[in-house]
């Protein structure tokens, strides 16, 4: 059985823990604690999320979610070693956090390292089609600056078919 690592990164509350939990075939390893400050939700990840899913008969995919908060970036280093693929979750908001995306791309360097990478937009149900279009365009500009060609797709981390579709996209681009 071949084992591959998928890193799932992205800003606070983008849905990394949710995605690992939706995809994993084993009960996931979670490290969430109650937040002491207002971050718009009760729990936040301070360690890692770990889950596993079988891609096909020969391949298992280890799902590594890392905390979104910058002060946990020492964990990014651990996870960034020998990854097969990278999912960058991007949370839709009125003031989208492009600086964070830029930062993640600089750190994981999917372009230079030729790591298959997908940008997945979450929390988009409140956005109009035009707003999503604008956001995708803005994201493409950032990707271009990092000389990265990567699909920008929509995802609902809570829905299994949507999450699986994200994996399909990633496996498809990994063949090139």
């Amino acid at each position: 059985m071949e084992y591959k690592k998928l890193a799932i990164v992205g800003e606070l509350g983008a849905g990394k823990t949710q995605l690992v939990s939706t995809l994993s075939e084993i009960s996931p390893f979670e490290t969430e604690v109650e937040s002491t400050i207002d971050i718009g939700k009760q729990f936040t990840t301070v360690g890692i999320d770990y889950g596993r899913i079988r891609l096909d008969e020969q391949t298992a995919l280890g799902l590594y979610g890392v905390p979104g908060q910058e002060r946990y970036s020492f964990l990014w280093e651990m996870v960034s070693k020998s990854i097969w693929g990278l999912v960058i979750l991007f949370k839709y908001a009125e003031h989208a956090d492009m600086a964070n995306l830029d930062h993640l791309l600089s750190f994981f360097e999917p372009g230079q390292r030729k790591t298959p990478c997908v940008i997945a937009l979450s929390h988009i149900e409140n956005a109009g089609a035009e707003q999503v279009e604008d956001l995708v365009e803005e994201i493409q500009t950032v990707l271009k600056a990092h000389q990265l060609v990567a699909p920008v797709i929509e995802v609902d981390n809570r829905a299994k078919d949507s999450a699986i579709n994200l994996l399909y996209t990633l496996t498809a681009i990994s063949q090139y």
């Binding site: 390893f29 979670e30 490290t31 969430e32 604690v33 109650e34 937040s35 002491t36 400050i37 936040t44 301070v46 360690g47 890692i48 905390p67 908060q69 002060r71 946990y72 020492f74 964990l75």
Partner: protein, 133 residues
Amino acid sequence: MSTTNVDIDDNAGLLDAIQSLCADHREITLISLCTLDGFSIKSFATKEMGMEADKVAAIASSLCAISNSSSIQFTEEEFDITIIESKGGNTLFCRTNYRGTDCVVTISARTKLSLAQARFVLRRFSDVVADLP
């Protein structure tokens, strides 16, 4: 050197506890109290150690969460203490409660302080913190 998100710097009891621990055990190079989600409440480090309080807090909260989840997987019980041993010294982590907030205590000491002593010191300090008014 400390970053706070809870207004507790005024707590003389906490400062006293840290100072007396340092005075009693010169081998200690770091003492930190932070929240479970990684915010430093109070931290002390020797100059040679010189580690930023926020970094210590992030690492401590992370290790604590990973230790606890691991412990539950392996033994079905919550963890008590996490110990990192190295030639340069030992670092110990445990949980405590400070004025109603669940927290992590970190103590790092040179190897001259035996592991048994370090464990004892950690436990006693976390009890003192939990009893602070």
